[in-house]
Amino acid sequence: MFNRDKKSKNENVSVSRRSFLKGVMATSAVAVIGPSLLVPNTASAATIAERAEWKLTGSHWGAFRAKIHGGKVTEVKAFELDKYPTDMLKGIEGIIYSPSRVRYPMVRLDWYLNREKSDTKQRGDNRFIRVTWDQALDMFYEELERVQNTYGPSGLHTGANGWRATGQLHSCGSHMARAIAMHGSSVKDVGDYSTGAGQTILPYVLGSTEVYAPGTSWPLILDNSKTIILWATDPVKNLQVGWNCETHDSFEYLEQLKDKVAEKKIRVISVDPVKNKTQNFLGNEHRYINPHTDVPFMLAVAHTMVKEDLHDQKFIDTYALGFDKFLQYVQGETEDKVEKTPEWASEICGVPADEIRDFARLITNGRTQLLFGWSIQRQQHGEQPYWMGAVLATMIGQIGLPGGGISYGHHYSSIGVPSSGAVGAGAFPRNPDSGKPIRHESKDFKGASSTLPVARFVDALQNPGKVIDANGSKITFPDIKMMVFTGCNPWHRHQDRNKMKAAFQKLETVIAIDYNWTATCRFSDIVLPACTQYERNDLDIYGSYRAKGLLGMKKLVDPLFQSKTDFQIFTELTKRWGKSKDYTQGKSEVQWLEQLYNESKDANAGKWEMPDFHEFWKEGYFHFGDGENWTRHADFREDPEVNALGTPSGFIEIYSRKIARFGYEHCKGHPMWFEKEERSHGGPKSDEFPVWMQSCHPDKRLHSQMCESEAFRATYTVQGREPVFMNSADAKKRGIKDGDIVRVFNDRGQLLAGAVVDDNYPVDVIRIQEGAWYGPEDESIGSLCTYGDPNNLTIDIGSSELAQATSANTCQVEFEKFKGKVPAVNSFGGPKEVV
């Protein structure tokens, strides 16, 4: 019920009928086969089919039992403790058996011929040559040596971390980081693409990064809130995936909330330009707002609260600092000298002034819980709406009360589900063991910074030596010559493909380790095949952040083709400088698993009596159970002196002197409205590119993961292309019909996508979900993306001098019906092998 398709698009599906039917049959079989067949019944095993084994494992999409037959995964069935499994489980088989699998170690043709002196303009032509594992690892090692000897640590970047496959032992980022740190130092990243602005601004305001922090328990929200504001958040869509193995416990509460909405016991309002999946599920009210204009709207709400004396002055006086300075801005006495009246805001945000006033009255009448999503901080000046949200919550005065205050994470990884408090498994160590020698001891970054704000790495490639501001420091860009990525796809998550293409031409060597041939593999020089998580044994917590239990992740099938575990790959790499024993600490995979399990067992002793490892492994999981309800910031509310916030003053900082003294132009002492580089609905550049493109997290993928799952992808693509969702008036105006191929473009790039006409989207707003695999027609700058990766069009600028985070959601485009010969989709299927 959470995956209700807007409409059937079967007529537009371009996969072969056979593969489509195969997908449908595989998924419908899940419903038909009952649990009686789950246990292999050898006594009556008359046919081979009945000898099939069922094995339990986990993933970002949830835990599941897989049927193994003929050495292959033939069926996937949700783990019985997962009451609300995601539809995406249907895509798992397609990941394992994707035609995009990285099968063998591959080297880019021109790099193979000319090494670091290769013609880097050819990078992206996808022509590769197969080599042996030994050859590939020798090259990897020789390149590490060359770069450390020639350039030192500032020449090597290894900091990129992505959504690694789940599992604590084989967590790929840890393996790469440990192995390479045993060889020498390199440039690292800080922050991430999801919450870069939020996690930087909030420690100054609320004293912690907040975005991943435990949130007030859902039962307390359901019992105490009178009003819930879902501010640019779509939990029904986003809670399908988790950083650890999900069991989707949040959905139980969302169902209860749906009932309470229907019974009019809780009023829920989605503040969003789009009527999103959650709103359609809950059946709640919609507060349309122009894209990018949350801050003017909120400023006018604050203006009304003060004017009508709706704010909690006592709470502000006790728990916050700097309200007076902020108020002067609201009343037009400072900065732009404009009074932030509802009439002023109405012009910008498209909400009638009286409705802004009503909103202020509503959120100050009874217990109000503000739940913010991440999309509004993934835009230029993304620090501001988060800061301003905290100011509104402070003015309401319910921070620290159950069902009141503000959260920035209830749409993510089971935040809000009461935590069991159990200790999960640790992980394979990311750092070299202390006291062991490092092959290259140098930590000389030649005056450059050793850590970059993650989303500024392309700027660094283009401008070595340039100094930028970031979070109160000066960052000097290092001169990067070589990058290594594992389980990380910058060619999906980073903005502005054509800028990236040019920047990557400056790199001498790029190494990618992955299980499927992402665009990052296409733009690399050496590609190593890792196996999927379904081809190795591991441990993970389930229930995601709230630790409902510990899961033994069984290897379902042997690694396909020549793929290997990360553990093996880096053991063999470190062997090249004689340190593989240090790397593994002399322990095998199973010894590590047992150790990680025992650490968890010991840490939980007294609270949970966990069985020994072998018994656990046989059983498959250990359930910790439910946790206790908890209220965010309750301790601070109770005793702000002893339980001070982590802000400089220990109080909520409506005004931050610390930020003010950085002297930044686009992040000053208190939240403010700044006009964007480009903005729809009358904003800058909207005359040329009138349409705002949002590139939010996908509904049927985890970022770019599972896009390569053929049959599942076919359930949502349009003529084989990524869907672009648009309003019917916008479509009509351009002569576009549902199912047409359209070209979406701006002055940064162009892509093809398949039109889905959907009036959940307002005029001048389209959505292309991020994670759509990049498939350029060729390696040249400006070439058309054949599949529909929205980051062809997004802008690559920092949110501000403070966070320097991604501004992906600041993006104006135009689109048209595509005419001419339609190029084939070329994102999938791996490299062009040259023999």
Binding site: R430, T451, G606, V642
Partner: protein
């Protein structure tokens, strides 16, 4: 007589038809009678098990739990109201009572088998037994406490301010009493044997060392602070890795001097390492933080970054003679290792010098909930990061 018999027999036959061996009538009447007898007997017997006399009829209960309660306010108080065993340990609701009785029947076997028939055996089981009761109180929101102590009937204004803060908050959340009030009627189980921190072990290893007056030492674990050499109620707690100077020794205590800063706003209950640096050295009760006989005021300055006034304060207080570290580096070595291991599970841990001391508080707070650190280790990692932050480290960037 025969006629009468046959009449009875005939009517009896109606009852006897469906069953071949025992008639429905026998079942019905028999069950009815037995029910009366059983019910009466059951309730009588059940009531008997609900008396204090029954509870302490077993040796273990009398020797341990019963003796312990006699020194508490629930046994004797100025109002003459006494809580007996069943008042707290037997649910008042019938169905819950039956469930509790069923569970408690295990204790009878325990008594037969001698599971806790010695002091040592009882102590070994104490934590387990206590946890069962705590879980029950947790589940019912401490219902048995609240049969007498009701949030609705509490007059908060009659409480001390410190108590008010806690109790108002608890009432607002309808919090279970046992969340905070554990060990009020019986001794607390020895819990640190199961969850002793690494720092606790370091402290234990250093126990028994002699102290030198005039010398400086560092706390390893959260350490209670006292007003003098005898007082048992503590005034506050030192965090790990806090420096103090021994100025006198007496019996089992040391008189120590703490040179710290506090915010000259509010009660100044939190003592910090340095001017305008939120590096916590100790937390005091409101009374202690206001007691001028315990401290000397020094320099007073305003922190430009927050506008808050800060004041140097030198406290003279007492601590128990326990294990303290002379070499701070030993503590930092432990903290560094714990930081690198624990905080690299999910991501590359930022360099210590990447943030300043006050920013570390917020960065660290955001990551809680992902790592399970005992209180001492939590405090010491944060202090390690703060003490090696860009404020104090030369190689910061």
């Amino acid at each position: 007589m025969k006629k009468l018999f046959s009449m009875i027999a005939r009517s009896w036959g109606v009852f006897s038809k469906p069953s071949k061996h025992i008639s429905l009538g026998v079942i019905t009447c028999g069950a009815f009678l037995a029910g009366i007898i059983f019910w009466g007997g059951f309730n009588t017997a059940l009531e008997a098990t609900n008396t204090e006399a029954f509870c302490i009829s077993c040796h273990s209960m009398e020797e341990n739990n019963y003796k312990e309660i006699q020194s508490t306010i629930h046994w004797s108080n100025r109002s003459g109201v006494r809580a007996t065993c069943p008042d707290c340990h037997v649910p008042h609701k019938w169905s819950d009572k039956m469930a509790a009785k069923a569970r408690a029947s295990k204790d009878v076997f325990g008594w037969l088998l001698g599971t806790v028939d010695t002091k040592e055996k009882f102590e070994a089981k104490r934590l387990h037994l206590a946890q069962n009761e705590w879980a029950r109180f947790k589940a019912n929101g401490s219902l048995e406490c609240r049969n007498c102590h009701d949030y609705k009937s509490m007059d908060f204004t009659k409480m001390s301010e410190k108590a008010q803060v806690q109790m108002r908050g608890a009432a607002e959340r309808d919090q279970s009493c046992l969340d905070c009030h554990k060990g009020i009627a019986h001794h607390l189980p020895e819990m640190d044997t199961t969850a002793i921190s690494e720092l606790g072990k370091m402290a234990k290893n250093l126990e028994g060392h002699s102290f030198e007056v005039g010398k400086e030492y560092y706390s390893l674990v959260q350490t209670p602070l006292y007003k003098d050499e005898k007082e048992t109620e503590y005034l506050g707690v030192l965090t790990p890795a806090t420096k103090f100077k021994v100025i006198a020794e007496s019996g089992n205590r040391l008189e120590v001097e703490l040179v710290t800063w506090h915010k000259a706003k509010g009660y100044g209950r939190v003592l910090y390492f340095d001017f305008a640096k939120n590096i916590v050295q100790a937390t005091l009760s409101k009374e202690a933080s206001q007691d001028e006989s315990l401290f000397v005021r020094g320099d007073k300055r305003e922190d430009d970054l927050t506008g808050l006034p800060w004041e140097q304060v030198t406290f003279t207080l007492w601590v128990d003679k326990k294990g303290y570290e002379e070499n701070l580096q030993n503590i930092w070595d432990y903290a560094k290792g714990a930081y690198q291991t624990t905080c690299s599970v999910c991501h590359t841990q930022p360099a210590e010098g990447h943030f300043d001391a006050n920013t570390w508080v917020g960065m660290f707070a955001g990551m809680q909930g992902f790592v399970n650190l005992d209180g001492d280790t939590h405090d010491v990692i944060l202090k390690y990061l703060q003490n090696h932050s860009s404020d104090y480290s030369k190689d910061a960037h």
